[in-house]
Amino acid sequence: MSMNTTTNKNYTNFFQIKTKHKGLLAWLLTTDHKRIGIMYLVSILSFFLLGLTAAFMMRLEMLTPGQTISFIDAQTYNSFFTLHGMIMVFLFIIPGIPAVFGNFFLPLQIGADDVAFPRINLLSYYLYLAGAFLALYAIIFQTHIDTGWTFYVPYSLRTGTDVTLPLIAAFILGFSSIVTGLNFITTIHRMRIKGMTMFQMPLFSWSLYSTAWIQVLATPIIGITIVLVLLERTYKFGIFDPTMGGDPVLYQHLFWIYSHPAVYIMAIPAFGVISDVVATFSRKSIFGYKVMAYSTMSIAFIGYLVWAHHMFTSGMSDTARTVFSFLTFFVAIPTGVKVFNWVATLWRGTIVMSSPMLMALSAIFLFSIGGLTGLHLGSISTDVHLHDTYFVIAHFHYVIIGGILSMFIAAMHFWFPKMFGRMHNEKVAKVGVVMYFIGANVLYFPMFIMGYMGMPRRYFDYLPEFQIYHVVSTVGSWILITAILLMFTNLLIAIFKGKPAGSNPWGAKTLEWTMPSPPPLLNFIDTPVPSKDPYDYSDHDERIFRDLKNKENIINQENS
């Protein structure tokens, strides 16, 4: 692959292309994976900002003991954490990276023109949108649901708030997720360009592959569980109702058989992004490529078998608890392998501190804290103490905010030049990353301490001795939100005012950087030639690359 960084002007990119439909319909009826990816990006970010607002309000409410804000009483607070949980889990973080960046970049990374089933891909987007609007309508305009995002029975059977609509919404969203997964697996098996084997795919594609398997194999379980709760509420089947012979613990089992693997649906694509970013900006092939691919698959597999560690205090036999505790420790091994391999990739690399790289490094650090505290919760004796406290909240958010949201944002920065053909302001982005890192720590670290001291989760009120931690945490939320808004605004400005990016501004080696940016409709102008190693930097000279980039910048400035 030659280092072709000049912009090819003699083509029509996928934004400009004219189809048989005009105007907005050209987008709404498109089956182009890139346009669907952009539509997902817009919708998912809108819902994310809504969930962020709910989080901001909750943190503000927790500033002082008792009621802090006049319009948030205890019941409203319950609705807020349900709103926050449902939006962030079902509408943002589960579809997140696969739906946006997977749709856009999976075909590009494996040299395909589109996904295997483009129309089903569009269907999956509309299922997502339908589920999302149904959920929002139900939560905001109907009675304010207060079950949390877990819908535990028997409370969800008895609560006066309307859980029916949100449950139907979750069912539809699950279907959307299944369809996307099915599409990606088929795409990877059938659409790889000639000459690219499975073990020559970029690791981001590998991560999408294993995520897709979880989506296909785990999501139906939550589907049937949701149907059961709906029927139970309406027709009194007695399956989960303890007064009729049912067992609520079985509901918890079924719920977590999906919802724990769902955590890996969120996390594994983020790992894939870290791998691509770290390899690219170390100018080096990833350390232990095959082990990385295998660990991705084994996280997916073992992650399927650890669900009951969410239920150590729910009533299970000691044997079951021991087995699930062991498996929980076991799943940490491939995850640890990944962290070590990322760090090993840095060794003797030519490290380029771009904004995505900075974010990836911060993600490795924050995710390690989140992952290691997960082991405290996976061990039975400590979990009994820490269960349902802020410690769990802190652990979960270190993983999600520190490891996954941050990699979503890193992916936005990394692939932004390819998606929109323009460069963002790197300085502002880096300031954003540093603020993000500080904000996340200030926000969540105090939660570890107060959780350990016994502050229970989901409570509207708290004892005065916890106030100092809550104040620090709330201040952290302001820093974090400012950082996120700063980075988003920076990117939004760059869409309109950024400098032309060229086909490969980062000097990356995977196939998506071989075409001009934004990509043409059929993706590849010339049939790409995959290399044996997706991150082959053996012919890379950083000085020549920088010279080329400088020249290109000068030409761009003269043109504009």
Partner: protein
């Protein structure tokens, strides 16, 4: 220009397949990947298996909790009805295969004939199920009924709850399969499904076999295991 196949999509290995219509505006891309379509169908069938899998877990969990109630409740189900339905579904899987084979051998009339027969077997299954359920409901055995609540032990309530859920969900799948057959019938008539391109019918067949397969598990679990 338009494509009607389910699997019409882009493929990078075959750039010759790109087509631009009038004024270089309309993008049409021909690509057929029957293997890919079948692959996708199999993945979908996995999700169906897991959908029922959740219910099988519940069945097994409660079976351990209430072995005696399960025994007593299972005695009340009509084995003859269940066996007839098993026979009906198994035979329908055969006729489904015959329909596909006939199409591949270019005898469209035979293919349609067997498709109608398969549809008929599906309908017979549903009618049978209707009578079976009606009898149960007539005896006051249905979810939330006074009979179950007042007189039966908890295990029987759960057993009949699962009975209605699992056979109900299965029958729903039978009906969906029959609707798919109607579409296949129309498509064969219009020539969309033809001896050269029969992947949709084949996928419909796969779906029908799954419906059959699930019943093969449901029948012994509810009717035979006393």
């Amino acid at each position: 220009m338009s494509t009607t196949s389910v699997d019409a999509h882009g493929h990078s290995n075959n750039h010759a397949g790109h087509g631009y219509g009038d004024n270089n505006q309309l993008y049409v891309h021909f690509h057929r990947d029957d293997y890919g379509s079948k692959f996708g169908m199999w993945l979908f069938l996995f999700t169906e298996v897991l959908l029922f899998g959740g219910l099988f877990i519940l069945y097994y969990g409660y079976r351990i909790a209430y072995p005696h109630d399960y025994h007593n409740a299972a005695m009340e189900l009509n084995i003859v009805m269940g066996a007839v339905n098993t026979l009906v579904l198994l035979t329908s899987s055969l006729t489904m295969v015959l329909s596909i084979v006939a199409l591949r051998r270019e005898s469209i009339k035979t293919s349609l004939f067997y498709l109608v027969i398969t549809f008929g077997f599906g309908a017979t299954f549903c009618v049978n199920k209707y009578f079976e359920w009606s009898a149960k409901i007539h005896h006051g055995i249905f979810p939330g009924s006074m009979e179950l609540k007042e007189t039966r032990p908890a295990g029987e309530v759960v057993f009949f709850g699962l009975y209605y859920l699992m056979t109900g969900l299965h029958t729903f799948h039978v009906i969906v399969g029959m609707v798919i057959m109607v579409f296949c019938f129309i498509f064969i008539k219009t020539g969309t499904i033809n001896p050269k391109k029969y992947i949709v019918l084949e996928n419909a067949g796969l779906y029908w076999h799954l419906v059959d397969l699930i019943w093969i598990f449901l029948f012994p679990l509810f009717y035979l295991l006393h």
